[in-house]
C-alpha cells in the first residue's frame, strides 16, 4: 500500500513553509520524493558528523540574471535532430509563433 500511492502536494501549501528548503518543495510538488533515500542520507549524515567539514568551498553565484540552460548539444538534439520536419517550423513551437500563412508555390 505504501509507495503505490504518491501524494500530490498542493504547491500553495508548500510555497511558504520556511522549514522546507525550496529545492525540496519542488521535489515534493513534482512527486519525485523518495522516502527510502532520505533515510539513507540521514545515516550518512550521522557518520559525517565527526569528520571535519570541508571548509574550502567556492560559493556559487546565487544572484544572476540569466537562467541556466541545458548544454548546446542537448538543445541541438531537442530542436534539430528529434524534429524531423524542423525545416518547416519547430513542431512544439508552432503555437508560440505567429506566422503569416505561406503562399503556396502554385500561386507564385
Amino acid at each position: 500500500l505504501q509507495g503505490s500511492v504518491r501524494r500530490r502536494w498542493d504547491i500553495n501549501k508548500l510555497l511558504y513553509l520556511s522549514n522546507i528548503d525550496p529545492a525540496e518543495v519542488i521535489k515534493r510538488w513534482k512527486g519525485q520524493e523518495e522516502d527510502d533515500e532520505e533515510e539513507e542520507e540521514d545515516i550518512e549524515q550521522e557518520e559525517d558528523f565527526f569528520t571535519k567539514k570541508s571548509s574550502a568551498e567556492v560559493s556559487e553565484d546565487l544572484d544572476q540574471f540569466q537562467p541556466t540552460y541545458p548544454s548546446i548539444d542537448i538543445l541541438r538534439k531537442k530542436y534539430e535532430d528529434s524534429d524531423e520536419e524542423y525545416e518547416n517550423g519547430y513542431k512544439f513551437l508552432k503555437d508560440r509563433f505567429l506566422v503569416a500563412p505561406k503562399m503556396s508555390e502554385e500561386n507564385g
Partner: protein
C-alpha cells in the same frame, strides 16, 4: 520571520540585490548574515559593496553597517531620491548587475533618475544582464506596468576584463505605483530581433554570429532581423569582446530575451546558434514572461494597488529560484501568491498588491 526588534533577517548571499531592493521599497530594516561564511574568501564581494554604495547614493538617510569580517550587513533604508549621478562600478561585475536593481527603484523615486554607470558593459565571466537585454527585455515589461519613459543609452562599450564602458539610465516617469496586470493569454511571437555587437575585434565576427543565429531561427518562419553593431576607436573600451542578444517580440508588447557573450576559443557561429537555441528553449518553457523577467514582474505586482493581478505561468518556471523570490517578498511585504494549476503545462498566478505608494506622491 521578523524578530522582535522589527528587523527582517536573511542568511547567505542569495538574492543579495533583491533583498536590499525589497527592503528599500518596503522601508524596513534588514540584516543579512552568514554571507559566504564557509567560502575560501568569506564575506561580501567588491561588486556587492559597490552596490551598497550605489544604494546609499540614490537614497537619503539610509544606514549601512558591515561587520568586521564582511559576512554580515545591516541595512536601514532611507527614502528613494534618485537624481543625477555617476557610479563607477566594480570591475568584478558588468554594469547590468547595477542597472537591473535600479529599475525597481527609479519609477518610485522623489526625483528623476539619471545615472551614468561606468565599467564593463559585457562579460563572459558572469551571467548578468547586458545593456541590450535590459533595454529590450526588461524595459518593455516595465511599460506594461505603466513605466513609460525610461531609457538606456550605451555611450561607450567596454568588454571584460578592463572595461571602459559607459551606460546612461534615464527614468522620466514617476508613478505612484505600478498598474495591475492581467496577462491571461500566452503571447504568440511575430518577430525576432537582435543585436550582434563587438568591441576591438574584426567586424566579420559580428556577421558570423548573425549567420549562426539566423540558421537556427530560420525554421520558426517569423521575420528575423539582427542588427550588426561594431564599435571601434575610443568608444569601444579597452578590451576585445563580442556577443549577441536575441529577443522574440509579440504584438502585445511581451518579450522573451536570450543572450550570450563570446569567450576565448569559441567560434562566433556557435555563439549565435547557442543563443538562438536558448531563445527557443526559453520560449517553449515560458508563458507570458521568461525566467529572467519573472523577478521584476513578481516585485512589480506585489507593490501594485490593492487589487488582484494575474498572469499565466509555465509550470517549468516554478523552480527553486522562484520560491526563493516569493519567500523573500513575503518576508518584507507579507503577501502571498496563489497558484492555480490549470493543466499540466500552465498555471495561473495571482498576487494581491500591497497598496504601496511612491515617496514622490506621499504627502509629507
Amino acid at each position: 520571520m521578523s524578530s522582535k526588534s522589527g528587523i527582517a533577517t536573511f542568511e547567505g548571499h542569495r538574492n543579495f540585490r533583491l533583498r536590499l531592493i525589497l527592503a528599500t521599497l518596503a522601508g524596513k530594516s534588514i540584516k543579512i548574515s552568514k554571507i559566504r561564511s564557509n567560502d575560501v574568501n568569506p564575506g561580501l564581494r567588491d561588486h556587492e559593496v559597490s552596490f551598497l554604495r550605489l544604494l546609499e547614493a540614490v537614497t537619503n538617510g539610509c544606514h549601512i553597517e558591515i561587520s568586521y569580517t564582511g559576512t554580515a550587513v545591516i541595512y536601514k533604508p532611507g527614502i528613494i531620491i534618485g537624481g543625477e549621478l555617476t557610479h563607477v562600478c566594480a570591475n568584478t561585475k558588468p554594469v547590468g548587475y547595477f542597472i537591473e536593481p535600479m529599475l525597481y527603484l527609479a519609477p518610485f523615486s522623489k526625483k528623476k533618475f539619471s545615472i551614468i554607470f561606468k565599467g564593463i558593459t559585457t562579460s563572459d565571466k558572469s551571467k548578468d544582464a547586458t545593456p541590450e537585454s535590459i533595454k529590450w527585455g526588461l524595459i518593455p515589461i516595465m511599460e506594461k506596468f505603466g513605466v513609460r519613459e525610461i531609457s538606456l543609452y550605451i555611450l561607450k562599450r567596454g568588454s571584460a576584463p578592463i572595461g571602459g564602458g559607459e551606460v546612461h539610465l534615464l527614468c522620466n516617469s514617476l508613478i505612484p505605483q505600478p498598474l495591475t496586470i492581467h496577462a491571461l493569454d500566452i503571447p504568440k511571437f511575430s518577430a525576432i530581433r537582435g543585436v550582434s555587437y563587438s568591441t576591438r575585434v574584426s567586424p566579420s565576427i559580428v556577421n558570423r554570429m548573425i549567420d549562426g543565429a539566423r540558421k537556427a531561427l530560420r525554421p520558426t518562419g517569423v521575420e528575423v532581423n539582427i542588427t550588426a553593431d561594431v564599435w571601434r576607436g575610443e568608444n569601444s573600451g579597452k578590451s576585445p569582446g563580442y556577443g549577441i542578444t536575441l529577443v522574440a517580440e509579440s504584438k502585445k508588447g511581451w518579450r522573451i530575451v536570450a543572450e550570450g557573450v563570446g569567450s576565448a576559443g569559441e567560434l562566433p557561429e556557435d555563439i549565435g546558434e547557442t543563443v538562438a537555441l536558448q531563445l527557443l528553449e526559453e520560449i517553449s518553457t515560458s508563458a507570458v514572461v521568461g525566467l529572467n523577467q519573472l523577478q521584476l514582474v513578481l516585485v512589480y505586482m506585489t507593490i501594485g494597488k490593492e487589487d488582484i493581478g494575474r498572469f499565466k505561468l509555465s509550470n517549468s518556471q516554478i523552480n527553486e529560484n522562484f520560491i526563493w523570490y516569493l519567500r523573500d517578498i513575503k518576508q518584507l511585504f507579507g503577501n502571498e501568491v496563489f497558484i492555480k494549476e490549470e493543466d499540466k503545462d500552465y498555471s495561473l498566478l495571482s498576487i494581491k498588491g500591497v497598496g504601496f505608494t511612491s515617496v514622490s506622491k506621499k504627502i509629507a
